[in-house]
């Protein structure tokens, strides 16, 4: 597959995703979803219905023609974090099919590990990224400092 890197003469302005129109550059990873501030974390036996209530939809304007996203999942206490990773689904069909894919970890789902900068490039515009936390299974795990940072580049 083609890897896209911007040429030296091509400006690729950074843009941020939005949730229902509210632009944000980072989002907390928590136990449960909060309207504009946090994405929830699934349990070890997730179902589609459960994930549908926990996941968070990050959208990009098609006009921006976003083809790359830089992601960094930060956890303050890796050894005791309740979050092992964040799963993501790019350009899914609808919320429920995204939830099913995230729960199963199949169908093109990506996994973002903590504390490793991650660059995702696509050969078509990314318009939606559905995310959900994936549990570590640590007993009494905490969510301290769990936050996903995102920047994306416009190829418009």
């Amino acid at each position: 597959m083609q890897t896209i890197f911007p040429g030296s003469t091509v400006p690729n302005p950074y843009v941020c995703p939005n949730i229902n129109g509210t632009v944000l550059g980072s989002i907390a990873v928590a136990a449960v979803r909060a309207a504009l501030t946090a994405v929830g974390t699934m349990d070890s036996t997730p179902t589609e219905a459960e994930v549908a209530a926990l996941q968070q939809l990050l959208e990009f304007s098609a006009i921006d023609d976003v083809r790359s996203i830089n992601l960094l999942l930060v956890t303050a206490n890796p050894a005791t974090s309740a979050v092992l990773a964040v799963r993501g689904m790019v350009n899914g069909a609808d919320d429920y099919s995204d939830a099913a894919a995230l729960a199963a970890g199949t169908g093109g789902v990506i996994t973002i590990s903590p504390n490793i900068p991650y660059r995702l490039t696509s050969d078509v515009a990314i318009t939606r990224l559905m995310i959900c936390g994936f549990p570590s299974g640590v007993g009494g795990g905490n969510y301290e400092g769990c936050r996903l940072f995102l920047t994306s580049e416009s190829y418009a």
């Binding site: 083609q2 589609e48 549908a52 609808d94 660059r119 078509v124 318009t127």
Partner: protein
Amino acid sequence: MPSRDESISPTSKLYDSLAKPLAWLNFAADGAPTKKRGAISAMTGTNTPDHATRPGWWTNDGTEYYTAPTYLEPGLQEAFDLGENVLLLFAQVNLATGVDTAQDYLLSVGTGASHNWSWVVQRASTASSGQICTHYVNVGFAGDASPVGYSGGASAFNVNADVNILALLDNRPTGKTVYQYADGVLYGAASFAGKGACNYASAPTQRLRVGATAAGSPTNQYLGGLRRLGVANFGASMPRNINQIVHSLHQSNCVPTLELLRAMQ
């Protein structure tokens, strides 16, 4: 610099390059086409379709239905035209316990004596459990006096359970068979050898309806939950990976899969 780079080619890209007609309608919300080739208008709901009882589903109490507002718009016609083509119908359903064993119409394409077809589910009894349901097609081919049901299997799946049902309609001159699947398993096949074409554009009335008959005053409304309904029109060629397509659609709960979309390029 990032320490991990990954290039992806989202499946969504394949929707933009479909060579064969697809209509995949979202009944989780409003009957609008989730993905399709060409222009397809959102369906018009009657009797306020219920999307609240079970989030992500249309829960039909037996009175609701959707009608295509423009019956023969090109995108709709090319997807639903049986002609002498191969059509794959797929839907995720959850049939409610019924008060009768009459046909419940999932989909009805055209009305009249000939050149129309429908996809129905039917309970073998009014019990609330047991493998008592089947699904099949009624087709009025060119020259027919009335549509006839074609089914080669019965009692294949339960009421009150989420089930992925698929019907493969092979109306090529060398095919003339319908195959019935429930949860990825082939459980029936019926032949309509000797029959001709079934052209949507030639139906006496080209109305298209989901959840009831396409007659002016609909009957046989569907009773139960419906989430996704799709029609893939392969034209005159059967995909060689049709078995993988069927299995993958079951695994994805009838969300179009890579196997299906690649076969439609």
